[in-house]
């Protein structure tokens, strides 16, 4: 990555409205051993604005927010809240200073009610009843004021993800937060839920709250923020008014070079049918029917994208095709039936039939984090005769050499096969898995969430490789919760909702809003 100059540099202008910034950081630095996670960061967040912080994974966004919320102590630098120099030694101090945090992974007690969760840790005394009564009153007011409608007596596990997030926001507001930090808030939401969240955030802003939004999604930054700060490798490379920038410029600032946001791909040349799925039903271990009779086909030279909110049966579909779960119905690959329940329904048999699988959850399924990169390159293919020395022993040297080549061809950084998988960044872990699966030259590639938690630079590379495989005449089944990814990669799109395919669309004949409706189970010809 070439170091490029920043276009606008660090803004150090005085507060335009003459008000003190809600948050001001001056020269904040934080190092973990030799790694400088935050380098001399200065930023001003004006009250009553929505301030976006954008950057790749590992750019230092989370570290910075952790300093602000009292999880880490900065090595150097000062924090000013509303013009007052403030020390934040722990999160209690952050809450006292009026800072509230909504984490990416909610910190809610699943079997408590909304009310109980809201007062957890903020009880007024040993007896709960007065606290609960007070909280009920406050929640009612907050709901009215900000459109944060949640039934206070509902148990958390009964709530949708979007509602759970509202509870997190309510928790912060109940603690009198004036400054709200949201960490990747839309990662788990449908487009509709995200829209609703944005309406809430705008309402909060109008009431004078200050909001910091951490995200890697350029679209959200453009849609809702007033000001955006870009971080790269621990440094704040730019702070610009959102109205005065565009996604391309922000992407360039994040990565340090020009990035293609859309995959350049020619028209598809679908050939003969590779995969035929008919009336597929999947029942999970809890006897819940996850996939309720779906049918589709994929041809060679075609990327078939499945959109949908996580948990609507896509994972189970991938699991069945990958040989992890049993199913009923029929699947034919190259005209021959796949075993769905018997001895040949395991992952080894699937690989032997020419199915490669890049799983959704790369850290828990796709690789063994404690294994080295080269051991992971053999994962699932460890019975390959090329990897054996003789009937008894594996040929570790051969795997190592093979891995070295694959890592170089897939630009895995660093290209050191003896390094443990957990020491690679998310994007590079994903490249290791892609190298392993794509270089097997499969007839059918299953890809789940190929770019989840992956940096923009690596996303571009991964998308290119998937398109290349399609152009080589292979079939690709793509499952992603990122609509933009589905839209730009797929040659044909199906939307799954509640275990069914709600409909198939061609990407050129549809848009995100139409797909979003199908994702929410509205309309569609399926059922």
């Amino acid at each position: 990555m070439a170091a490029t100059g920043t276009t606008s540099g660090r803004q150090d202008t005085a507060a335009p409205e003459g008000k003190a910034p809600a948050i001001e950081l001056r020269g904040v630095s934080k190092a973990f051993g030799p790694v400088q996670a935050n380098k001399d960061i200065s930023i001003r967040v004006m009250p009553g604005t929505i301030h976006g912080i954008i950057g790749e994974n590992g750019a230092g966004k989370s570290t910075l927010m952790s300093i602000l919320y009292g999880f880490y102590k900065a090595d150097a630098g000062e924090i000013f809240i509303n013009g007052q120099k403030t020390d934040i030694p722990d999160s209690q101090a952050a809450i006292r200073a009026g800072i509230g945090m909504v984490f990416q992974h909610f910190k809610l007690v699943q079997n408590f009610t909304v009310l109980e969760n809201v007062i957890l840790g903020a009880e007024d005394g040993a007896l709960l009843r007065p606290s609960l009564a007070k909280a009920r009153r406050v929640l009612k007011e907050l709901a009215k004021e900000y459109g944060l409608d949640v039934d206070p007596d509902e148990v958390i596990e009964e709530l949708s993800v979007g509602h759970q997030q509202r509870v997190e926001i309510l928790k912060a507001l109940y603690r009198h937060a004036d400054i709200l930090i949201l960490d990747e808030p839309t990662g788990v939401l449908t487009p509709d839920e995200a829209d609703h969240l944005f309406r809430i955030l705008r309402g909060l802003k109008e009431q004078g709250k200050t909001i910091i939004l951490i995200t890697h999604k350029l679209r959200e930054i453009m849609e809702i923020t007033d000001t955006v700060s870009v971080m790269r490798r621990g440094e704040m490379t730019a702070t610009v008014k959102t109205a005065e920038t565009d996604p391309e410029q922000l992407a360039e600032l994040m990565v340090g070079r020009k990035v293609l946001l859309n995959v350049p791909k020619g028209p598809a040349n679908p050939g003969r049918v590779i995969l035929e799925v008919e009336n597929l039903r999947v029942v999970d271990e809890d006897k819940v029917e996850r996939v309720k009779g779906i049918s589709f086909t994929i041809r060679e030279g075609e990327i078939f994208g499945i959109a949908g909110v996580a948990g609507n049966g896509q994972s189970e579909l991938l699991a069945v095709l990958g040989g992890i779960m049993p199913a009923t119905g029929s699947i034919r690959l190259n005209g021959k039936d796949l075993d769905l329940t018997g001895r040949h329904s395991d992952g080894q048999s699937r690989r032997a039939r020419g199915i490669a699988h890049v799983p959704e959850d790369r850290q828990h399924l796709g690789m063994i984090m404690d294994f080295t990169a080269w051991e992971n390159m053999a994962f699932g293919y460890h019975n390959d005769p090329a990897y054996q020395k003789n009937a008894l022993l594996m040929n570790n040297a051969a795997i190592l050499e093979d891995s070295q080549g694959k890592m170089e061809r897939f630009d895995v950084r660093p290209p050191i096969p003896t390094l443990a998988a957990k020491n690679f960044s998310g994007g590079n872990q994903q490249k290791i898995i892609l190298a392993r699966e794509i270089e097997r030259n499969p007839d059918l590639l299953l890809v789940g969430q190929p770019t989840r938690g992956v940096d923009i630079g690596a996303i571009e590379f991964i998308h290119k490789r998937i398109v290349e495989l399609r152009d080589a005449g292979k079939a690709v089944l793509l499952v992603s919760v990122e609509l933009a990814e589905i839209m730009s990669l797929s040659d044909r799109i199906a939307v799954m909702f509640d275990g069914r395919i709600m409909g198939e669309r061609m990407p050129e004949d549809t848009d995100e809003r139409a797909l979003g409706l199908l994702m929410a189970g509205v309309g569609g010809e399926g059922a």
């Binding site: 395991d346 080894q348 799983p359 828990h364 460890h382 570790n396």
Partner: protein
């Protein structure tokens, strides 16, 4: 948690844990009015100060290597085999049946046969909990513990009602034929120059060392070892890769049980020359500590087994030569297990402050 460099993880952490255990032991000895220094000197002199002492230390270590390896193999498959004790006792039964079956002409013939007998019986005893875990989801920790008691009861029944020669007073088998006697280190040409007195350590020691090497090959050079390690670290990932959880669970436990059973060539065949009650004498449990301390690596298991051999023999010497009660041996062992096993993370967290991670691969 901070990841330590390999050398710190392998050398520094156990060393500091040991020193801590030693320090607390010293306080305990001091508290009962004895001299910690004198106690340490007695233990060192008795266990490693002479070839004679080594002959005992290595004898105990041989057993601990087998049981330590047994725990190690299962542990790599994420199976906590607490049943080494019972599997070793059943292995003893296998060894005894083989040794008593024929008038063996020479130990070179008897040993391989006894090894097969011990390994088969140990493996069979592990197979039942393994199957229950793999097919029925019965937790292996619970079942293997219970199988220890069943094994003890079974052995007593076998000794009292089936194998005890008529007219013998104690519940034990008859003496094994002379042809099954394994040469001790004193009886092996060359070694007798060092071990000038009769010692219990015998050729089983070399079998144990060979087993260390074989298990290393198994875990890091074979497909089965690869599958065991992958399955142990992530069962969902193993299923993704098409690794059969049933197969791996069964194989890992069968190998584990066989190793525990093999221990009996050392104590039953090598040392006592007959099968008695409670033949394993807790070695199956010590194996857990040995594997923990040895970081589930054969080399670590070997070193930890020597250490525990030292503690066993040194502790016995304490009871012999000082007024420190022999029970203190148990206290010291307990402290070593506590610090090297259970409190190991404490040392690690402390050391972690000195070794900060260096993330790689920023793409």
């Amino acid at each position: 948690m901070t990841q330590l460099p390999r050398w710190a993880d392998v050398v520094l952490v156990p060393l500091i844990s040991l020193l801590l255990a030693g320090a607390i032991s010293a306080i305990v000895i001091w508290a009962i009015g004895e001299s910690p220094w004198q106690a340490l000197k007695t233990m060192v002199d008795g266990a490693v100060g002479s070839a004679y002492g080594w002959g005992y230390t290595l004898y105990y270590a041989t057993s601990f290597i087998f049981t330590g390896l047994a725990v190690t193999v299962a542990f790599h498959a994420s199976l906590f085999n607490i049943g080494g004790e019972g599997q070793a006792q059943l292995g003893g039964l296998g060894v005894a049946l083989v040794c008593l079956a024929l008038p063996w002409p020479h130990w070179t013939l008897a040993l391989p046969a006894a090894m097969i007998g011990g390994a088969l019986f140990g493996a069979a005893w592990a197979a039942i909990p393994a199957y229950l875990q793999a097919r029925r989801g019965s937790h292996i920790v619970i079942t293997t513990i219970m199988f220890n008691y069943i094994a003890a009861a079974l052995i007593i029944y076998m000794l009292v009602s089936v194998l005890k020669p008529v007219g013998q007073m104690d519940p034990a088998t008859a003496r094994f034929p002379a042809g099954t006697h394994l040469p001790t280190l004193h009886e092996i040409p060359g070694f007798n120059l060092i071990f000038t007195k009769q010692v219990p350590a015998n050729v089983s020691l070399f079998v144990a060392l060979f087993a260390c090497w074989l298990i290393w090959i198994l875990l890091w050079r074979t497909r089965l070892g690869y599958e065991i390690r992958a399955f142990g670290r992530s069962e969902p990932a193993a299923k993704y890769a098409g690794i059969s959880p049933f197969r791996v669970t069964m194989y890992a436990m069968l190998i584990s049980g066989a190793l525990a059973g093999l221990m009996s060539i050392n104590n039953v065949m090598g040392e006592s020359g007959r099968l008695v009650q409670n033949s394993a004498e807790g070695a199956g449990f010590i194996g857990i500590a040995v594997a923990l301390m040895g970081r589930n690596h054969p080399i670590g298991v070997f070193l930890a087994a020597i250490l525990f051999g030292f503690l066993y023999q040194g502790g016995a010497e304490l009871g012999l030569w000082t007024s420190i009660p022999i029970e203190l041996r148990t206290v010291v062992q307990g402290l070593v297990i506590l610090f090297t096993g259970a409190l190991d993370h404490m040392v690690r967290m402390f050391l972690g402050q000195f070794f900060r991670p260096r993330p790689l691969g920023v793409a």
